[in-house]
Symmetry: C2
Subunit: 237 residues, 2 copies
Amino acid sequence: LAPDGTPALLYLPTLAEHGARLTLAPADSHYVSRVCRARAGERLEATDGCGARTTLLLVEVGEVVVAEVISVVREEPERRCWLLCGAPEGERADWLVEKLAELGVARFVPVDCARARWRRASGRKGRWERLAVAALRQSRRSHLMAIEEPAPLSQVLAGLPAGGPRWLADAAGGRLGPGSAGTGGVSVGLVGPAEGLSEGEKAAAVDAGFTAVRLAGARLRCETAALAVAAWWAGQG
Amino acid sequence: LAPDGTPALLYLPTLAEHGARLTLAPADSHYVSRVCRARAGERLEATDGCGARTTLLLVEVGEVVVAEVISVVREEPERRCWLLCGAPEGERADWLVEKLAELGVARFVPVDCARARWRRASGRKGRWERLAVAALRQSRRSHLMAIEEPAPLSQVLAGLPAGGPRWLADAAGGRLGPGSAGTGGVSVGLVGPAEGLSEGEKAAAVDAGFTAVRLAGARLRCETAALAVAAWWAGQG
């Protein structure tokens, strides 16, 4: 158990096959032995963040923890959502990344737009990935949110997976209808940067199959809109 | 216009009647003259945060700004939502307050629960109120989110307004149905603290008319759940 009483979940990107023995990395060993105060003979869950869910039997618990894989289950995501997002102000993307990962977004795609480009995204990527891993463990998911490098909106629109509903956050859009979250394909949400999308960008999104939807009865900050799209999508599941 | 090109909105809790002259406080005067670079003769919008929306005509713009109220409109909220929330970890309530205010929540009620009490809420109240004002201006609302002092859950449940749907965030609850946001009365969301609600507290909430709903296919952090409830409610408007 984790200190808060909930079952612990380890993130081990290189999970081995059933029956294999794993030597945990120092940080994971520390977590198991010191934070969870687990003992040899106890069991622990782990995921590789790509759908594999494993039960580990703790063989040695000390400075270094050794565990044996005693079961592996693969989980396919029932629903998937990509979130395309223009640059918010300041450091607001940090908590956005955390919250999107908690809500189960599959892929976070920072988009460079006419009125705003992502400036520090490459410097933040390591931090974002750590936040996504923490959210995965917190929410006990089996799929780690992927985080892309920023790319121009036109390029991102051209590379979206086919099928699935697409929403563009727009205070002038229609209401989010019940059931519009769909169940097939990848759902895609697009939120402009703090400065907004240009008219040309909005038109390009509509051409790419996006429907303009309003998320609240007022203007929302970029990161709030992104979160509202993800929360709404998550609530349909 | 504010520097980002959007119309500026002032928050003036003591808005006067039509025809009155107002001398703005130093911070507001600075904002109008230096940040927005407005000039005498221009117009500006203001709200008292209680539903009054005013157009001001700038009479003098300098160190001190003097404005005349040239129109007043009262706006009643069409829908209202109260958010009852247990204590999250660390400083996470700060951005929660900001986001709830942006999404249009009418009242934020910190609730003390069996497993966690709000510790620094009174010290944070001034900061939260500033965040709520900034969110009001950002999202151009006419109603400022009210922020209550922390109170025990039982006391809060006993004091809720009658009518309106009530949801309890619970990973074991039912799906959020379309249209369950309702249109009459005050909608109320309840989210337990990071440590969760006790079984007795959940039962008391159900007795008080709350329906357990799950917000995503996984455990959410306290503040993420509160935000998901508010975003879902806002999206129905």
